[in-house]
C-alpha cells in the first residue's frame, strides 16, 4: 500500500495546489467519476487566447472533492503543466496515461519518467485498476478544458443536478 500512498500524494491531498477556481477562464470542464461521485471542476487560461498550437497554458485552477488519489493527481498535474505550450501538455498527458495503463510495469524509460516530474509518484496506482480512473480524472478535465479553450468555447461547464 505504501507504493500507492506515497508521501508526496498524501501531502498534495492534505495541501492541494491550484485549488480554488480563477474568476476568468478560456475553457472550463467538469468531470465526475460515476463509480464514486468524485468530481473535478477545472479552468484554464491560454496565451495567446484561443490560438493554435503555439499557445501556452498560462494557468490552471480547479475545485472538487474526492479521494486522495484524484485530488492529489489534479494538484500535481496543475504544477506540472502550468506554463507549458499545448503540444507539450499533450505529450505529458499521453505519458501519464501510459503510466496509468501500465498495470504497474512502469514506463521502462527514464526520459519519459523525467517528463512526468512529481507525477511519477502515481506509478503505484497502476497496480490497482479500480483507482486508475481516480488518477486520470483531473487529466480528463484538463484535456476537455483545453479543447474548449482552443475552440474558443468559453461556455461554463455543465454541472449535473446534485453536484455543487
Amino acid at each position: 500500500m505504501e507504493s500507492l500512498y506515497r508521501e508526496l500524494i498524501l501531502d498534495h491531498y492534505r495541501h492541494p495546489h491550484a485549488k480554488g477556481l480563477a474568476e476568468s477562464f478560456d475553457g472550463e470542464s467538469f468531470q465526475v467519476n460515476p463509480m464514486c461521485g468524485d468530481q473535478v471542476r477545472l479552468r484554464v487560461t491560454v496565451t495567446p487566447a484561443s490560438s493554435a498550437d503555439d499557445a501556452t497554458l498560462a494557468d490552471v485552477t480547479w475545485d472538487g472533492g474526492g479521494c486522495s488519489i484524484s485530488q492529489a493527481s489534479t494538484s500535481v498535474m496543475s504544477d506540472l503543466v502550468r506554463g507549458l505550450d499545448l503540444a507539450h501538455v499533450e505529450e505529458v498527458a499521453g505519458v501519464f496515461a501510459r503510466l496509468m495503463h501500465s498495470r504497474g510495469l512502469g514506463l521502462g524509460n527514464d526520459a519519459d519518467e523525467d517528463v512526468l516530474g512529481d507525477a511519477i509518484a502515481f506509478e503505484g496506482v497502476a497496480q490497482y485498476p479500480a483507482r486508475v480512473k481516480c488518477a486520470l480524472l483531473g487529466w480528463m478535465a484538463l484535456k476537455d478544458a483545453l479543447a474548449k479553450a482552443v475552440a474558443g468555447d468559453r461556455s461554463p461547464a455543465r454541472i449535473p443536478e446534485g453536484f455543487a
Partner: protein, 463 residues
C-alpha cells in the same frame, strides 16, 4: 424402449443425490420451536459453516487472510452449490421444455423442481415464480409490462393502467434498480413520480404517507431492506396504504431475502424481486414473484421461444405464467444451484440466520460507535435492520478507506453502492460499507472495527 439398463429412476434423482455435502448441512441443528424466538446460529456452528466456503481460507494482499465483508454486494457460495451444478451438468443436462428425450425430461424436472423449491422458500406457489437473470431484470420486467399495458386500450384487470397524471410512488432508499425503471415508466406514461423521503436516521419518513398516497397512485415500489442503511421497511404499512387506493405493490427483496425469513404471501405484496447471488447462490439467476392474478394480467416483455402457444407468420399466442415471461433458453444450471443454496439456508433456518446476524450487527455497531469521526449512515441500533452497515469517515474518502482495509485483507464496498439518492439524502456522495453473512465471525467484525479506527490517522484526518 428396449433399454435394459437397471435402475431407470437413478438419473432423475441425481440433482439431490450429489455427495459433496456441505458440513453446515450435516450437522443436526436444533429446529426452532413454533412461536419461540429462534436461537441464533452459534459461533461453533459458524466455524463448521465456514468449512463449506473454501474461498474464506484465501490469502489476499501481503498474505493476509481474507476478511469478507461484502456479502451485500454478492455472497460467497458453499461447495454444495457448485456440487449441485456440476452434478446436474455431468448427469442430467439437456434442453428444458423442448424435446422428448431422456435428458430433456430430467433437465426439465430439475428446472421445475428448482422453481418449486424457490416458491416454497418464499411461501408462494410454483407458478407464481418467474425465473429472471436477477432482481434488476425482474423489476424491469414489471415496469416494461406496465408500459405495454399503458400503451394499449384500457382493460379492467388486476394490474394498473397508468395514465398521465397518475402517480408512481417510490422511496428515497431505493437501489437504482428499483428507481430508474420507474423513472422511465413515468416518462413513457406521463405519470407523476413521487417518493417517500429518508429521515436523518436513515429510515423512511412515513408521517406524511397519507398525503403521498393519493387516489391516483397506481404503483408503490419500495425496498424491503436498504443496501446502504440496512433499514428494514415497514412493509405492512405500505401494503395497507396501497390497498386503500388500489395501487400495486412492488417489493425489492434483494437485501432482505438473504438475511431474514421472507414470505411474500404473508407480506401481502403484489410482486417482488430477488437475486440468487446475494443468497449463497450463483450469478445470472433470480426471480420475479407475482401474485397469480397479477402475473395472469401482465403481458410478456421478452418474446421468442418457449413462451408461445401457436405462432403464425403474423401473430402468436402466449403461454400462461410463468412460461409467458421466460422467453429463450433459461439459466437452468444456475436455477439448480440456487435451489441448493436455498436448501442450505433452509437447513440453517432463516430465523436463526437473522438472529445470528442481529447479534453480529450489534457488535459491529457498538464497535463503530466507539470510533471518533465515524458516522453510521442508517439505524445505529441492531433493531429492524440488516447487517449492511455503511459509514462516513470524517476527512477520509471511501475509496481511500477501502484501499486501507484491502491492504489488511478486509473486503468492503466503497462508493455509492448503486444508490446515489440515498447518499445524497444523508449528505454524502459515497460511503464505506461492511456487510455480514452467515459465515461472518466475531473476529472478522472486530478486525474491521480495529482497522476502521486506524484509517483517519493514516490519511491525516486525525492525530
Amino acid at each position: 424402449m428396449t433399454d435394459s439398463s437397471p435402475a431407470p429412476e437413478e438419473g432423475a434423482s441425481c440433482v439431490t443425490s450429489f455427495t459433496w455435502e456441505c458440513r453446515g448441512m450435516t450437522d443436526s441443528s436444533p429446529a426452532s420451536e413454533e412461536d419461540a424466538p429462534a436461537e441464533p446460529i452459534t459461533a461453533r456452528e459458524v466455524d463448521r459453516i465456514r468449512r463449506d466456503f473454501p474461498i474464506l481460507e484465501r490469502r489476499v494482499r501481503s498474505g493476509r487472510r481474507l476478511v469478507y465483508l461484502d456479502t451485500a454486494a454478492t455472497a460467497q457460495r458453499p461447495v454444495c452449490v457448485s456440487a449441485a451444478m456440476t452434478s446436474f451438468s455431468s448427469a442430467s443436462y439437456g434442453a428444458v421444455h423442448r424435446g422428448a428425450h431422456r435428458l430433456a425430461e430430467e433437465a426439465t424436472d430439475a428446472f421445475e423442481e428448482a422453481r418449486t423449491r424457490v416458491a416454497r422458500f418464499f411461501g408462494v406457489a410454483g407458478d407464481e415464480i418467474v425465473f429472471t437473470s436477477g432482481t434488476t431484470a425482474a423489476l424491469n420486467l414489471v415496469a416494461f409490462a406496465l408500459a405495454e399495458i399503458a400503451a394499449g386500450p384500457a382493460t379492467g384487470s388486476a394490474v394498473p393502467v397508468i395514465r398521465p397524471g397518475d402517480r408512481i410512488l417510490l422511496t428515497e432508499a431505493e437501489h437504482h434498480a428499483n428507481l430508474v425503471p420507474w423513472q422511465r415508466l413515468a416518462r413513457r406514461t406521463g405519470a407523476d413520480l413521487a417518493w417517500i423521503r429518508l429521515g436523518p436516521d436513515g429510515r423512511l419518513g412515513l408521517d406524511d404517507l397519507d398525503t403521498l398516497v393519493t387516489p391516483r397512485t397506481r404503483v408503490i415500489a419500495f425496498t424491503h431492506a436498504s443496501n446502504v442503511t440496512g433499514a428494514i421497511t415497514d412493509v405492512a404499512r405500505l401494503v395497507a396504504a396501497a390497498r386503500a387506493v388500489g395501487a400495486m405493490t412492488v417489493l425489492d427483496a434483494a437485501q432482505s431475502a438473504p438475511h431474514l425469513p421472507v414470505d411474500f404471501r404473508a407480506l401481502g405484496v403484489d410482486v417482488a424481486a430477488v437475486s440468487a447471488h446475494k443468497m449463497l447462490g450463483p450469478t445470472g439467476i433470480g426471480a420475479l414473484y407475482g401474485r397469480a392474478e397479477i402475473l395472469d394480467a401482465l403481458p410478456p416483455v421478452a418474446t421468442g421461444g418457449s413462451m408461445v402457444e401457436i405462432v403464425t407468420m403474423t401473430e402468436a399466442t402466449f403461454q400462461p405464467p410463468p412460461a409467458r415471461f421466460e422467453a429463450g433458453t433459461q439459466a437452468v444450471t444456475e436455477a439448480v444451484g440456487w435451489a441448493a443454496a436455498l436448501d442450505y439456508l433452509s437447513h440453517l433456518g432463516m430465523d436463526r440466520v437473522a438472529a445470528r446476524e442481529a447479534t453480529l450487527t450489534a457488535r459491529l455497531l457498538a464497535g463503530v460507535a466507539g470510533l471518533d469521526g465515524v458516522r453510521v449512515l442508517g439505524p445505529d441500533r441492531a433493531v429492524a435492520r440488516t447487517g449492511a452497515v455503511a459509514v462516513e469517515i470524517a476527512g477520509v474518502h471511501p475509496h481511500d478507506a477501502g484501499q486501507y482495509l484491502d491492504d489488511l485483507g478486509i473486503a468492503v464496498r466503497v462508493g455509492h453502492h448503486c444508490a446515489q439518492p440515498v447518499h445524497r439524502a444523508l449528505g454524502v456522495t459515497a460511503s464505506t460499507r461492511a456487510s455480514l453473512g452467515v459465515y461472518t465471525t466475531e473476529a472478522e467484525v472486530d478486525a474491521f472495527v480495529e482497522a476502521l479506527g486506524e484509517v483517519r490517522a493514516y490519511f491525516g484526518a486525525a492525530r
